[in-house]
């Protein structure tokens, strides 16, 4: 079931770089510089299992993985991702992405206390929810000063509770 709560137009601060475009289809892997294609596909499935939102296009998850790819330029991070991607398939007869959700969740739970899992889970949350397309889907409008703030755009428009007294 797709649940979309309050889809809005969302803005990244105009001073910041815009999100990178992710090609549709398997050629998205061309954006990778450090991860192998197999690692990247595993991480896409991992993030979709950690943060499952059917309403979000797969390209958004792939963009989150592109941040992992960027971080993997550092040897320490690359090592963490290598170890994670090996451990997550260890003992399973199929690639992580070929497993049903039940088994994907089990595979992640087995690693839950490892430093590698904690890194992947924290970075998944860090980058997936920093995506302006996710903001739009879940009702977060983002940057506002360049639009005059919210003083004339609904900072006090909640109408499902009674009006407030004037002496607050």
């Amino acid at each position: 079931m797709k649940t979309v709560h309050g889809r809005v137009t969302a803005f990244k601060d105009p001073k910041l770089p815009t999100a990178i475009a992710i090609p549709k289809g398997p050629e998205w892997a061309q954006v990778l510089k450090n991860l192998t294609h197999a690692q990247a596909e595993t991480l896409v499935s991992v993030i979709r299992t950690l943060c499952p939102h059917e309403c979000l296009d797969i390209s958004i998850y792939r963009r989150a993985v592109s941040h992992f790819d960027r971080l993997a330029a550092a040897a320490e991070v690359a090592g963490t991702i290598d170890r994670f991607c090996e451990a997550i398939v260890s003992g399973w007869p199929l690639a992580f992405g070929a497993l049903a959700e039940t088994y994907r969740v089990q595979a992640l739970q087995r690693l839950q206390e490892t430093a590698e899992f904690m890194f992947v889970q924290r970075m998944a949350v860090r980058y997936l929810y920093d995506d302006v397309e996710v903001w739009a889907a879940f009702g977060y409008q983002g940057a506002s000063v360049h639009l005059g703030g919210y003083v004339g755009r609904g900072f006090n428009d909640l109408d499902w509770l009674p009006d407030l007294p004037n002496d607050l």
Binding site: H53, R122, L128, Y129, D130, F138, V145, Y150, L158, L161
Partner: protein
């Protein structure tokens, strides 16, 4: 006017280390009183035009991100092991990040030991000064900061998140509910504009409606012609003379050059980890355990307040991200009430974050369907927050690593914190109250978020009436090192319940009076 550049050998200057609420305010107050002042700041001097409306980009731009370690039974040690405290590194310090809440300590809070009695395991003391002595300085602080509801300035208008809190609290029979007090302009004041309710005051406040030392105190100090502001300069040690009095600061500039700046007075205002770290790193033959540490209190009794948030989902939109983030106050639980089963009180305030940081701080480590379903309802989410008094314990402390140093050769700091039973009981009471308020307003689901790295850092170089109980006297001068002062939250004798910035500013103004009077005599 061109800013002065004082000689490295100038021994008639006041050198302040840190440019936040304490150091930045003190610098301006001393300049206005005619004193030559050098302000060292570890971070860069950036203009508001550089600030961004973006949770993570702002965090990375503003925060002190140098490595630390954490230990103890607190959840932060697990969730944020290398960043257990949240404060800033740039000109303006953490006043570029704060949310503008401006409340006063009470006389009862300043007599915590006398009022709460002997709470086992704590190191409670009374403040060595009274509220009456601080009140004239609170008045001055509120005037300079443009605090709402003082000096005829209008209150913060209520936003959506406030409306949820208000009706929940009202339905529970709570009485002391308002939008609170903030150093955020609701009308133009002191050449700063009125808020446009942009919701990004904690990201640097590009719009400039909120008081900070970056946009108010430091420009005024520079206009006086007496401030020598040295940004991107990291202090690494303090030296004393043959009589044991402070006389110079060692620092490394942006080019990596080490300097020795002479001083008549040295003031440390680097927040609760860096200030004790600098004192501990300034050990000498005369002060083998670090400056001002003869009784072993430097770095101890660290306080961080009982701070936590409940995030709730409602059947209809809230849009908590719109507007100033913490525009609400409930004071019903702020007084000490032994019948609740714990010492001290807490205030209830609002909290709002953007989607990126809400997802990160809701419950670090949480994943799967349940987490995803909650965060997907961000638009219908409200946040409610508490800040309460935590108990000082001697073992909650800043120490220096014996094995690891930073890029400047200074040992990395470790922050140890164990929750006291009193802290746990207050947390428990607070969670239940916050959840009850949201449920009464119609919440369908409430998430009791764990505490995140504190920005209310207090107590680690505390004032005390007796030298054997603390580090500083009632003027914030070290008991055992003349001309060495502290001007940040680490000077607090006890934590009180409220947001500390107004008190840090009031204490800095009072300290400026003291330093200026001594300089005249």
């Amino acid at each position: 006017m061109l800013a002065p550049i004082y000689e490295f050998s100038a021994d008639d200057v006041v050198v302040i280390i840190g440019s936040g609420a304490g150091g930045g305010t003190l610098a301006n107050e001393l300049c206005q009183r005619g004193l030559k002042t050098i302000l060292l700041e570890a971070g860069r001097h950036i203009t508001p035009a550089e600030f961004v409306n973006d949770d993570w980009a702002a965090y990375e731009m503003l925060s002190w991100l140098d490595k630390r370690t954490a230990s103890g039974n607190w959840r932060v040690a697990r969730d944020h092991p290398n960043a257990p405290s949240w404060h800033c590194k740039l000109v303006g310090g953490t006043t570029v990040h704060w949310s503008g809440c401006t409340y006063r300590l009470t006389q009862a809070e300043m007599q915590a030991r006398s009022l709460y009695g002997d709470v086992p395991g704590t190191s409670l003391i009374d403040w060595p000064l009274s509220l009456a002595e601080l009140e004239p300085y609170y008045d001055q602080a509120e005037r300079k900061m443009g605090v709402t509801r003082t000096n005829g300035l209008p209150a913060m208008p209520p936003n959506n998140n406030f409306k949820v809190m208000y009706w929940g609290a009202k339905r529970l029979g709570l009485r002391e509910i308002s939008t609170g007090r903030h150093a955020i302009n609701t009308v133009p004041y002191d050449n700063r504009p009125a808020t446009i309710q942009d919701g990004f005051s904690v990201s640097g406040d590009q719009h400039g409606a909120r008081w900070s030392t970056l946009n108010v105190e430091i420009p005024k100090a520079l206009e006086s012609g007496r401030l020598d502001l040295r940004a991107s300069c990291r202090a690494t040690g303090i030296e004393h003379d043959n009589n044991g009095a402070a006389k110079a600061v060692i620092y490394v500039d942006a080019n990596g050059i080490t300097h020795r700046q002479a001083a008549a007075v040295v003031v440390v205002a680097g927040n609760c980890i860096e200030s004790p770290r600098l004192l501990l790193n300034s050990a000498s033959g005369r002060y083998p355990d670090g400056l001002a540490n003869g009784f072993g209190h430097v770095g101890r009794h660290y306080l961080r307040h009982i701070i936590q948030t409940v995030w709730s989902i409602f059947p209809h939109p809230v849009n908590m991200h719109r507007g100033e983030l913490m525009g609400g106050l409930i004071a019903d639980f702020s007084r000490h009430d032994p019948s609740r089963g714990f010492a001290g009180g807490y205030y209830i305030e609002l909290n709002a974050m953007g989607l990126p940081t809400t997802a990160a701080f809701l419950n670090p480590g949480w994943w799967g369907r349940d987490f995803a379903d909650v965060i997907a309802q961000y638009a219908n989410m409200a946040g409610i927050f508490m800040t309460g008094e935590d108990m000082p314990q001697p073992g909650n402390r800043v120490t220096l690593s014996e094995t690891e140093t930073d890029a400047f050769g200074v040992p990395v700091a470790n922050l140890h914190y164990d929750d006291h039973l009193n802290d746990l009981l207050m947390r428990n009471h607070g969670y239940k109250t916050l959840t009850a308020i949201h449920q009464a307003a119609g919440a369908t689901r409430s998430i009791e978020a764990p505490a995140y790295p504190a920005s209310h850092n207090l107590g680690s170089n505390r004032m005390s009436a007796k030298p054997e109980d603390g580090v500083l006297d009632r003027n914030g001068e070290a008991h055992e090192v003349k001309n060495l002062f502290i001007a940040d939250g680490s000077a607090f004798a006890s934590g009180g319940a409220c947001n500390p910035t107004l008190s840090i500013v009031a204490l800095a103004i009072r300290q400026a009076d003291f330093i200026a009077k001594r300089a005249q005599s």
